[in-house]
């Protein structure tokens, strides 16, 4: 059997995140702060058509938010064969989201009540298949992850002691080429 006759990992790229500081908040206008921006491409180097599995492995995330503000991560990827994929902006269509908020209301002088929320979310995998990539064709994938703060935003959150942070260290983008039958016998 030739190397391309078995399923194989053909791309493995880590999209590292830009760091978010307290000064990066708020991000109340979509799509928000760009954390990751990564293009990955692969040319089918085998003599046979193959199906490609795009596997996104998201790192664990953590964030802190103060009453009543919300923090949300959104990510999206696009793909195209032999051309550039559309820009994966997460304003409208997107693949996934993670985030939270607590709303505890305000006191009699309209200050948000004291309250902070610490969150941790585990890593996870999201798969997408691209079928029938012909020999010599190039599959292009474009991945982006943003963090934003769904409005409204309060400047005096947590009774005038705001604390906000958001961290999603990386997303690992893998392509697996899955072969099909040869053409000698079945052709």
């Amino acid at each position: 059997m030739r190397p391309w006759a078995v399923p194989r990992l053909v791309r493995d790229v880590k999209a590292n995140s830009a760091s978010v500081s307290a000064a990066s908040f708020p991000q109340a206008v979509m799509p928000g702060f760009l954390l990751m921006d990564q293009k990955v491409g692969w040319i089918n180097d085998s003599p046979l058509e193959c199906d490609v599995l795009i596997r996104m492995i998201r790192s664990p995330k953590e964030w802190i938010t103060s009453n009543p503000n919300a923090i949300q991560f959104r990510d999206r990827w696009t793909h195209a064969i032999d051309s550039d994929p559309v820009v994966p902006v997460t304003t409208g269509i997107y693949n996934s989201q993670a985030g939270s908020a607590i709303d505890l209301g305000t006191n009699t002088v309209a200050e948000p009540m004291p309250g902070r929320q610490w969150m941790w979310a585990g890593s996870g995998i999201s798969d997408e298949w691209v079928y029938s990539v012909t020999p010599g064709a190039k599959l292009n994938v474009w991945y982006r992850c943003y963090v934003w703060t769904p409005p409204p935003w309060s400047d005096n959150a947590n009774k005038n002691s705001p604390l906000h942070s958001a961290k999603a260290s990386y997303t690992r983008i893998q392509f697996m080429a899955m072969p099909g039958q040869g053409t000698l016998v079945t052709g």
């Binding site: 995330k61 991560f73 607590i102 996870g124 995998i125 798969d127 039958q181």
Partner: protein, 199 residues
């Protein structure tokens, strides 16, 4: 002269040579995209209320044994919970392999996503509840359920269920508008088939 030579499992032979059958390649053999029918505002549900319910079947009509694994791809989930109530989305799956399989009702909890927020209050009276609301979004994620060997002629029946539940304390405040929501969105089931290696 056309001559067909003796071949092994997972192989094909004709007068031009030998090659691998389709069932030799790890591949997706069946797929189902299940959508939630109950996304949005919810009310108290001490017993789970179904959001997504669906199944998938596959018959091994190849001449050889196949190893099967199910990939369960859950969409991003969202819950909104008013203090002191809890909102949680559970899911479950079950399967059977037989000539004519009929999997049991998926009732064992496999995964859950949700939460609650409680603001302390002087009493449990409806008008004493303080305002607090919890919002939570989780990323889509994937898990695997190994199914095992399926002999030629046998079939798999795989069932999936996601439900929303509001266990425990539940008070409907009388002094302001409460809101509880649950969004399960979708789940995608994919059946992967692999050849069985030499024993």
């Amino acid at each position: 002269m056309s001559l067909k030579i003796c071949t092994f499992e997972y192989m094909l032979s004709d007068h031009r040579g030998v090659g691998m059958r389709k069932n030799f390649f790890p591949r997706i053999v069946a797929e189902a995209f299940l959508e939630s029918t109950r996304d949005g505002e919810i009310s108290r549900s001490p017993d789970p209320v179904t959001m997504i319910d669906g199944d998938l079947t596959w018959n091994n009509n190849t001449p050889d044994v196949q190893m099967l694994a199910m990939q369960i791809h859950r969409g991003p989930r969202t819950v909104v919970a008013q203090s002191p109530g809890t909102v949680v989305i559970h899911d479950a799956f079950s399967h059977q392999i037989a000539i004519s399989p009929q999997a049991d009702f998926p009732s064992i909890m496999q995964d859950s996503s949700g939460g609650r927020l409680q603001i302390d209050r002087p009493s449990v009276a409806r008008d004493a509840v303080l305002y607090g609301r919890f919002f939570f979004d989780t990323d889509d994620s994937t898990c695997w359920a190994p199914i095992g060997e399926i002999k030629p002629g046998f079939s798999l029946h795989f069932r999936y269920l996601a439900a929303v539940q509001t266990p425990g304390t539940w008070t409907i405040p009388s002094e302001f508008e409460p809101r509880w929501e649950a969004h399960a969105r979708w789940t995608r089931l994919r059946a992967w088939a692999f050849p069985l290696g030499s024993l």
